[in-house]
């Protein structure tokens, strides 16, 4: 029974310095920061969304530091120092995250390059293919015309 009371008190402490103590702009900052910080246990949620005990503790840390007058950047740095840039849903641009930031643009550029190459190939073949066809076509047509003329001569003789 005693441990239960202690546990409840501990939970009370952890959630005690929460949104209740904050008002107006500070409360808005609290909600904004919570949404930008990633829960380290349930990794695809922010600490605002998560009910994990650690997320509750981290919300209490955010609330406590806002109440203590720390800036958003200071609070984020405090958590990055302890948990790494992983806690940020909006990671800063640096050597470790360059692939993350540049990756989509590199892929887009590669895709455009492939499209460009394919389109140029098509155009090249479109330029040359009809020229060959035209030559052959006229030859065929000439041959056909001569044969047709010969046939006409034959038939006219038979029917006369």
């Amino acid at each position: 029974m005693r441990w239960l009371i202690v546990l409840l008190l501990a939970i009370g402490w952890a959630t005690g310095a929460s949104a209740v103590d904050l008002e107006g702009e500070a409360l808005a900052r609290y909600h904004e920061l919570n949404a930008e910080l990633r829960c380290l246990i349930c990794q695809n949620r922010s600490i605002a969304e998560s009910d994990a005990p650690l997320a509750q503790d981290l919300r209490a840390v955010v609330a406590g530091q806002i109440a203590a007058g720390r800036s958003d950047a200071e609070i984020k740095q405090y958590l990055v120092d302890r948990y790494g840039e992983w806690v940020l849903y909006d990671p800063p641009l640096n050597a470790n995250t360059i692939i993350l930031w540049a990756g989509p643009f590199v892929l887009l550029a590669l895709g455009l390059l492939v499209v460009f190459v394919i389109m140029r190939r098509r155009r090249d073949s479109a330029d040359t293919a009809p020229a060959v066809d035209r030559e052959r076509l006229s030859r065929l047509l000439d041959a056909e015309a001569q044969r047709g003329a010969a046939d006409d001569d034959d038939s006219s003789r038979e029917h006369s």
């Binding site: 202690v6 840390v61 948990y83």
Partner: protein, 178 residues
């Protein structure tokens, strides 16, 4: 025209490497921000007595293993025997950080399974755990003589991990004099 055959093969090989990398990583184990950084400051009562305190300064001067644990943590029970074995094999003292636990629960746990710790810091609120970047218990830190964190194990220690990394790391740090 041969390159037309080469491209799909290269693309498939790149995919295999990429997927293989993705499959062999453990996404739940995060890289620690504290490696090669000084151990975070703390000043906590010990589990044994409220009057005794243990501080960061107490970690200096010798290689230590800091094990974050709780009596409610099932994985801590799993690594308990290995913590004992590491301490016995290397002679490195293990400092326990009892995390978000009750005094009664923690003491009962140590009574039942044995106490591998030289001293246990009692962090009821989990504040010190946050300073140490603890996401979930158990976590184990190797701290060198200068009080710098040199290695960290997230989750329960396995026998392979103990033999392949933890014990060699502790022996190396003990021998190097740093």
């Amino acid at each position: 025209m041969r390159w037309r055959l080469v491209i799909p093969v290269v693309v498939v090989l790149m995919l295999i490497v990429l997927l293989g990398y993705g499959l062999t990583r453990r996404p739940d184990v995060l890289p620690s921000a504290l490696i090669d950084k000084p151990a975070p400051q703390f000043d906590l009562p010990t589990l044994a007595s409220d009057r005794e305190r243990i501080r960061t300064a107490d970690l200096k001067g010798k290689v230590t293993l800091v094990n974050v644990w709780a009596s409610w943590c099932v994985a801590c029970r799993a690594e308990h025997a290995l913590i004992t074995e590491i301490s016995r094999r290397t002679g490195v003292p293990v400092v326990g950080l009892n995390y978000k636990d009750t005094k009664e629960g923690a003491l009962r746990w140590l009574g039942r399974y044995g106490n591998p710790f030289a001293v246990v810091a009692f962090d009821r609120s989990g504040e010190v755990g946050i300073d140490w970047g603890v996401a979930a218990v158990p976590e184990t830190f190797v701290v060198d003589r200068q009080g710098t964190i040199r290695y960290k194990v997230v989750g329960a220690i396995t026998r392979d991990e103990m033999n392949d990394t933890l014990v060699p790391t502790l022996e190396r740090l003990k021998a190097s004099g740093s």
